[in-house]
Assembly symmetry: C2
Homo-oligomer: 388 residues x 2
Amino acid sequence: MRKVSIIGVGQTRYGNLKNETLRDLIAEAGCKAIKEANIKRKEIQAFYLGNYDAVSFIKQNHLAPYGAGAIGLKDIPCIHVEGACSSGALAIREGIIAIGAGLYDIVLVVGAEKMNSLSTEDVTEILAQAGDYETELLAGATFPSIFGMIARRHMYQYGTKREHLAAVAVKNHSNGAKNPDAHIQKKVTFETVMECDRMVADPLTVYDCSLISDGASAVVLCATELVSNFCKKTIEILSIGQASDSFSMHLKDDITTFDATVKAANQAYKIAGLKPSDIDVAEVHDCFTIAEIIAIEDLGFVKKGEGGESSFSGLTSLTGEIPVNPSGGLKSKGHPVGATGVGQIVEIVRQLRDEAGLRQIKGAEIGLAHNFGGSGATAIVTILRRAN
Amino acid sequence: MRKVSIIGVGQTRYGNLKNETLRDLIAEAGCKAIKEANIKRKEIQAFYLGNYDAVSFIKQNHLAPYGAGAIGLKDIPCIHVEGACSSGALAIREGIIAIGAGLYDIVLVVGAEKMNSLSTEDVTEILAQAGDYETELLAGATFPSIFGMIARRHMYQYGTKREHLAAVAVKNHSNGAKNPDAHIQKKVTFETVMECDRMVADPLTVYDCSLISDGASAVVLCATELVSNFCKKTIEILSIGQASDSFSMHLKDDITTFDATVKAANQAYKIAGLKPSDIDVAEVHDCFTIAEIIAIEDLGFVKKGEGGESSFSGLTSLTGEIPVNPSGGLKSKGHPVGATGVGQIVEIVRQLRDEAGLRQIKGAEIGLAHNFGGSGATAIVTILRRAN
């Protein structure tokens, strides 16, 4: 496959955006990315859209030409991909493959979701449809309850503590407070998190759960051999791994690890010729605090079972050995489902370009993004490098 | 891009399949295709699923790993693509691109939809969400009414008559009567169609509308350079074109032609080095009878405006100059939305292999499939050839 780079990124603010429609969000992110890439609309040869469930949220389907129209793109192939919470990274991966095949030189990818049109109860049910409806949702198992079970098991098996979960929330809120695109730009103290009695699914309180956000993120992909025509600050995509795991929780051997993450990461490291210790900055899928703890284990940043203690010790802070979720993550930046995987790449691109402001990781040259869907049935791991 | 061929196909019967879940349908079609290709599950390196809206029909999302699990596929990348009624062809196209890129050698593509879980009114609304919710559905414009307007305009502009529409229905029911997989395997007479007073949206009666079907279709794609390892009766994919048109009806210059079809067809003909008269058999997207008439014009089989008369004259019958919809089409074979584009390819493969039984087009060597979404915002045209 031909090598692929990123020549422009764009993003809306994430949040409860009452005044913007899904069209508005897609248009804003897409147009910002096009402008940053300094290309004309007619130079874009295909459009990939990551969206989880606009049907349920706003009664709109056939989403790729809908989104393309909002951006002012005409005639070109438009493809909507869905992979639950990993819809965004999935769209990027399909775009990379199409350029890799030599079919296109320049592709626009947008991830977007408009979620705040409905109540929290309805959103929770819609999200639960990314799990197994027949064996899970019908029995009342939504994602907070599933990740509550996962957290309990991780505690039982590895001695992970409530304090470890809290440390993830505190760090991500601290990072989000430095991100002007974040849904909640507010620090929280360790004591506030520990004392919180708004239980969602034991042991997870509201501070352990990601946000229900509206938002869109976009990247312009370009064949690496052509980037010099467009942009000086390009970011190379070294690899993008994807794997799957059992769709249903009851079929998994071990719920304290996500097989798909491990396999996708191994693919990505192998293709890039890198190891976990080579990564300078990572955005990982912290749909719940326990998910970040497991992710840093599954990605090989720490040993299995040591994710809780490592998060607590500051290893993953902005100045730690492996900074994780400098954007604030799904916990604080927000989680507009279809946008999330693209937004992670936007953050890594900004970090590798030294454009991340107060949350900049000094000297970051290699970054990793980890996006997963449902209770881990889909996982995608991308490794990017600053082109010098 | 590397060349891609089809080494196996599989299909459920289409119909009102009360006893089968979506899982069952995907499993049946997928397993049949795997068996026909004579490969092992572990040889499949990626899984693409075309589905329009299982969320609304059966409350299930995150559909690619859901479907893969039903087939017994593990670990591999699973990708769900949605493109309204062209979701199936879109999934095939993404699979072709991934093999073309050299990323995989063997890919399974399944298209599936379970629609009969809901009432006709609900299904009509769900389908209408493939059009523009804000400017069309909110104003009451569902697809029957949109295609009713299109038919009226075609009649006004080109003198197309009610008899011409009826001839399409009669032909497709006659073909479907010869297809053991078809939803309705029953001939209808010209008089019955002409005398029908069950108006859906003037001038379209129930005989002008495609069916609400459950079903799944599957193809196994393989890099052409490797097909000799697997199968003797391979079908080459010569080209697959895709284009888009304005998402909203009010933005189209002319509603009697579908720009995306014309552009996708031109791409496909150009890449294949063929012209319309080289096609021996075609499956086209007859969601309504008028859509088939416009399709044969847009695909270049007849001159613009002559689609009605040509259909009436027998040009598109099984023994005509360009046989169209030998399977029975969406009208008689049925239209399980996400399956349709894959099912068209299954029919063309069977025709090119001389395995189409009573509806076989003698000596067919080159076939074309035309799948489109919504009111034409997405169109995909595929050209296939018998490998000798």
